[in-house]
């Protein structure tokens, strides 16, 4: 079967050397799906065999053992109940046919998805050995933005921090944030200067620290 398919595709100019593999994979998927279906679920007439085998013979005799009232009952059955049943039957029949068409459509969509899924999987497998870290973890993504010469990268920066208050005992979120950054950058070898006020209290800003340069801290 695969051989026939391959030859047909070759003739049509659609040949792809990986097609056989792809179809084998897709077939495996469908096989698995088919086997997973429990038997006995379909109640669709076509799967019950030939239509004639189960179809009710419609040649009905319209006799009755009753008298006058019997004629009325026969008339009701013949003119009302029987046509109603017929109509119900054909209505259901058409619905089932519509459903079948839809199923075929859906299945072909699933099929094309399965084919492209198998193709993609092949492509991924092909790419993997060539680039073992095709998707690098996020943390290493940023520093690797653009490689710059190592000498310039390790040169210490001359940084000045400007903040309203500064000190180990100064409360406040942004003040603590600033101190963490300043101290840690200094710890990494950068030349850090902090420019700040003499205040500790952020309501009055009263001068409490001595002005100027109290030498090197830390």
């Amino acid at each position: 079967m695969d051989q026939v398919r391959l030859q047909a595709r070759e003739r049509l100019g659609l040949a792809d050397e990986r097609d056989g593999e792809v179809y084998a994979q897709v077939k495996k998927v469908f096989q698995a799906a088919h086997e997973a279906l429990s038997p006995g679920t379909p109640f669709y007439p076509q799967v019950l065999g030939l239509e004639d085998d189960w179809e009710v013979p419609s040649a009905l005799g319209w006799g009755t053992h009753r008298g006058r009232i019997g004629a009325l009952i026969v008339w009701v059955k013949k003119r009302i109940l029987f046509p109603l049943n017929r109509w119900l039957y054909s209505y259901t029949w058409h619905n089932l046919h519509r459903q079948q068409k839809l199923n075929v459509l859906l299945l072909s969509a699933v099929e094309s998805l399965a084919v492209s899924h198998a193709r993609l999987r092949q492509e991924i497998d092909e790419l993997r050995p060539r680039a073992p870290q095709a998707i690098p973890p996020k943390a290493t993504e940023r520093p690797a933005k653009e490689p710059r010469p190592r000498s310039k990268d390790s040169e210490p920066l001359k940084l000045a921090f400007v903040v309203d208050r500064y000190g180990a005992d100064v409360p406040g979120g942004s003040e603590r944030h600033c101190r963490e950054f300043a101290e840690r950058l200094a710890g990494r070898g950068h030349e850090v200067t902090v420019l700040t006020s003499c205040a500790r209290d952020y309501v009055t800003w009263a001068n409490v620290f001595p002005p100027g340069r109290p030498g090197m801290v830390r």
């Binding site: 940084l159 600033c178 800003w205 801290v217």
Partner: protein, 335 residues
């Protein structure tokens, strides 16, 4: 590392400042009135501004913290071409001042605490927006385990949820206490609420709650290590370090859904739940309590997020590479 301190030339005149604040926040002030507001807010240090002007070429970059203080507001424009701003902005009235429209376009780069802070500043700044990066601050890994008896001394009973930080209506503490009172009323005292941090107000403490005031570092660690979850009730935050600390301890968080930053962080980390009102608070707290497996999983996810984004080595690497990248855009020899 050098620290240069400059005298405050004029202390804050609280009465004048409050009146002036009301006027400019109402949008009634001119641009000059608004600039004056920054000067009134202080710390008014003209010598620091003078120093910046004279020493512009002595530093590669100037890193300014908090846009709302005078040294940053007045100083940044003196060295704008070498300035990096860490705005630490929150959703408060000051951010709407008209003079900031231009101010936020001045620096060479901006370091944000969160994506939400970036959106806020971008919404008030005039384009084009400077280069920026969301870095935030770092947070330490959870420390060594502390003896659990510390908690007994404090009167803490497990399970409990912990709220860290100032007890202050501006931080959502009052709303939290009333939500919790409602929880206890309907669900009973199935869990304790522990609040640790200095109190700025006297608050009525509902049944089942424990307000500890300032705690020692050891007590703080013990509280973080043994809590069931952290509660972060603040309506405004630029970056909640308490939330990141909770995650470093592998515990989930229950945060105020009205705070965009907290809600955003919890969503990004998938490390907790948020509440918008007392009913949601009750539901969420009850859920975390009756589903310890889910609570643990949320805590683990938060821990992964905090380690990936806010561990100090990661933060410092990002900070340094952002600074170097910004510096590389300055033409050589320009002052």
């Amino acid at each position: 590392m050098k620290v240069l301190r400059f005298q405050v030339a004029a202390e804050r005149d609280a009465a004048f400042w409050h009146a002036h604040s009301r006027r400019v926040f109402a949008g009634l002030g001119s641009a000059n009135d608004e600039r004056r507001w920054f000067q009134e807010s202080g710390p008014y240090t003209p010598a620091l501004i003078e120093h910046l002007r004279e020493n512009k070429s002595r530093h590669d970059l100037f890193i300014f913290f908090s846009y709302r203080y005078y040294p940053t507001f007045a100083g940044l424009k003196e060295v704008a071409s070498r300035a990096i701003l860490v705005p630490t902005a929150e959703e408060d009235p000051a951010i709407r001042l008209a003079v900031l429209r231009e101010f936020f376009t001045l620096p060479l780069g901006i370091i944000h605490n969160s994506m939400e802070e970036h959106a806020l500043i971008r919404s008030v700044a005039r384009p084009p927006f400077p280069a920026f990066e969301v870095i935030g601050s770092g947070v330490e890994e959870a420390g060594a385990r502390v003896d659990r008896r510390v908690l007994d001394r404090l009167g803490v009973k497990r399970p409990y949820v912990l709220c860290l930080g100032r007890v202050d209506p501006n931080k959502g503490s009052a709303a939290l206490l009333s939500h919790f009172a409602r929880y206890v009323e309907l669900e009973g005292e199935s869990i304790q609420l522990v609040m640790a941090g200095p109190s700025v107000i006297e608050v009525p403490v509902p049944r089942g709650a424990l307000v500890l005031g300032q705690v020692s570092d050891e007590e703080r660690s013990a509280l973080l290590q043994n809590m069931h979850a952290l509660v972060a009730p603040a309506p405004f935050e630029s970056l909640s370090l308490a939330l990141l600390e909770a995650w470093m301890h592998g515990r989930p968080a229950l945060v105020n859904g009205h705070c965009k930053v907290l809600k955003g962080q919890v969503g990004r980390a998938n490390g907790g739940l948020y509440f918008d009102n007392a009913g949601e608070f009750r539901e969420a707290l009850g859920y975390l309590l009756t589903n310890p497996g889910v609570a643990d999983a949320l805590g683990r996810q938060g821990q992964e997020y905090a380690r990936r984004e806010y561990a100090w080595p990661v933060v410092m690497e990002r900070l340094e590479s952002f600074l170097r990248e910004r510096l590389s855009t300055i033409p050589q020899g320009s002052g």
